[in-house]
Symmetry: C2
Subunit: 148 residues, 2 copies
DNA sequence: CGAAGTTTTTAGATTATATCTAATATGACA
DNA sequence: TGTCATATTAGATATAATCTAAAAACTTCG
């Protein structure tokens, strides 16, 4: 990934391109594995420049606010983060909590009547089940059902 | 809501109908306002029988496992809970975090190729933006954009 | 019934995740 | 360079959820 591109991406959103912020953004753009804040913090700190935990969280919050990064809340687990590149949906594994990308396809908006006076910013389609790694160990077990 | 119906609903899913568990389920069925665990705990404890925090969480976990209740993770906030009645989608307010129901409509499944060997259990459509209460205070402000 | 096993509840401790604080450092720019 | 806004930091704090170990409530079955 091109360093200039990342810099422009940050500055184009009104964010100063500090070393710590750059490191977070670069990590997210280079890995599409939806890391947690703790994983990002750790990864960034394996190389210079170092970053504190607060800074990592601050920068993630700023990047999410700027619309460059998406936060995915997962029940009972730490949130995952995801550089917004190509549009995609998400698959969340019931067992390991990992978040994976599913190729984008268009989803119809709800009827105006059911939105009422709400202001719609975005819609998000989430699939749940067992990921490729977890499916083999669980597929035969009671309680896991294939669903249309 | 009929007490017998709730009892049957629990027992039909292999859960004993204890007073504390009943209270949690009854509260969720009577209010469709997607409370947090803390709100459920508080509500249940305003009347007898009392329930401890651990029991509230245990029962919520059991109800979710049994498929009677849905847990909705919200970024940066406590999870919300929702008795599964009629199928519906969710709208989550960016500002206040409240979760509201959106009338159900069918969403196409992803192509088999993009699911690969994953086992799909369910899919969930989430809308984000500003709820009816929050929209008026924010609609004119910078950063909030209507989107198709 | 009553013994024995199982499930549930409980208070409080603990863990996990995220945010806050206030002091310091950095960068922007007149 | 001086001034001001923004960013970073270590560590404290807050919040959400889970764990622990013991007691209580049920179930089963002799």
């Amino acid at each position: 990934m091109d360093a200039e591109a990342i810099q422009q991406c940050l500055e184009g959103s009104g964010l100063r391109c500090t070393p710590q912020r750059y490191a977070v953004m670069a990590f997210l753009m280079e890995h599409n594995r939806h890391p947690t804040a703790a994983e990002i913090f750790e990864a960034v700190n394996r190389v210079d420049p170092r970053s504190s935990r607060a800074t990592t969280y601050n920068n993630l919050r700023d990047l999410v606010r700027a619309g460059l990064v998406r936060e995915v809340a997962v029940e009972g687990r730490a949130a995952r983060f995801d550089a917004k590149g190509m549009r995609h949906h998400h698959f969340i594994c019931d067992r390991c909590g990992n978040v994976e990308d599913i190729q984008w396809y268009d989803v119809p908006r709800p009827a105006a009547a059911s939105l009422g006076k709400r202001i719609l910013r975005e819609s998000e389609l989430i699939f749940r089940g067992l990921c490729t790694k977890c499916a083999p160990r669980r597929a035969a077990r009671k309680g896991v059902v294939r669903v249309s």
